[in-house]
Symmetry: C2
Subunit: 213 residues, 2 copies
Amino acid sequence: MKLYDFFRSSAAYRVRIALNLKGLRCDRLFVNLRTGEDKTDAYRAVNPQGLVPTLALADGRALTQSLAICEYLEECYPNPPLLPPDPAGRARVRALAQLVACDIHPLNNLRVLDYLTGVLGVDEAAKLTWYRHWIAEGFTALEAQLNSSPDTGRFCHGDAPTLADVFLVPQVFNGRRFECDLSPYPTVTRLASAGEELDAFQAAHPDRQPDAV
Amino acid sequence: MKLYDFFRSSAAYRVRIALNLKGLRCDRLFVNLRTGEDKTDAYRAVNPQGLVPTLALADGRALTQSLAICEYLEECYPNPPLLPPDPAGRARVRALAQLVACDIHPLNNLRVLDYLTGVLGVDEAAKLTWYRHWIAEGFTALEAQLNSSPDTGRFCHGDAPTLADVFLVPQVFNGRRFECDLSPYPTVTRLASAGEELDAFQAAHPDRQPDAV
C-alpha cells in the first residue's frame, strides 16, 4: 500500500491515525497542496478529484475519501477493531465520525475559504468568523451527542479508540489552530486529549510528518 | 423502527431509498424544517443536533447521519446488498457516496445558504452561483471517477444499485431543482436515470411524500 499524504490535510491525518492504530506501515508519497501538486496531471492520474489522501493498493486500485479508506482498513485488518461489534454501536461511531466529516470539515476546507475570499470578497475577519461558526455549530452538536449517551467512556465509544476518535482529534486540532473558543465543549476536549495521549495519534500529528514545514 | 423524515431533505431521501430497496417498512414522523420543528425541544430530545433523518430503534436508541443509518440497514438487513462483497469494491462505493455526502451536499445545505445571505449579505444571484459551483466541482469529480473505472456499469458499481446510487440520485435531483447545467456529466445523469427508473427510488421521491407541499 502507498499513501498519498500531506501533513496539513485533516483527512490524511485521520488515515495516518487509523494506520498507526492498526500497526500498519505503508509507503508514503507527499502531495504538496500549497504548491499545487494536487492539480498536476501526474496526481490526477492517481486521483481524478485531486484530493488527498489516496490509498493506492498493490493491484493498482486507488482508494479515496478518508472514511471509505478507514472502513477498508477495518475490513482488511480487523485488529485492533476501530468499530464496535454491535450494529447500533457501529452506527453511533460512524455517526460521530460523519458529524465531523460531513457537518464541520467540508465547510472549512481550503477550497471553500478560497471561494469566500476570492469570489465573494469576504475579508479575513469575516472568514475567521465563518470558520469558527461552523466549528461552534458542530462541536455544540457533538458535545450534546456525547453527553446524551451512556456509551461515551474514556474515548468517544467506550474505553478504546474508535473511528469517532480518529475523526475527532484532527478536528479539535483545527479548532485550536484557528483559535476557536473550545471551553463550551469539555467532553469534546477531554476525549480529544485522551486520543492525543496515545502514540498512534502522536505519530500522526501534522507537525511530526516528514513534509511538515 | 421509526423514521423522522422531511420530504425535502436530501439526507432523508437517501434513507427512504435504502429502506425501499431493502423492502423495509417503518413508521414515519415528519419534521417540518420550514416551520422550525427541527428546533423544538421535543425533536432535540430525539436528535440533539436537530437534523433529519433520525432512525429510532425499538429499544429507544436514535441513529443519526444518513450514511451511518444506511450502513446499519446494510448490516441488519443484508439482502439485497447495497455494498459489493469485496473490500476494495466496498471502498469504491463508499467513496462515491462520500463524494456526495462530504464534498457536495454540505456546502449547499439550507443552513449554509442562510449564512451566506443572512450573515455575509450575499445576494440571490451570488448564492445561486455558489450552489452551482459546488455541484459543478463535485459532478466533475464524480464524472471522472465513474469514467475512469471498469466497475461502473448500468449502475454506479456494476449492474445493481448500491449506496453510491442511493446518494447520487438525490444530489442529481438537487442539481436539476437549482437548474444546474448537467450536460457536462453524461455518465452521472445516465446513472441517476437508471436509479430513477426503479420503484424503490420513485417511491422515495420528495414530491411523493405525505408531507410534500
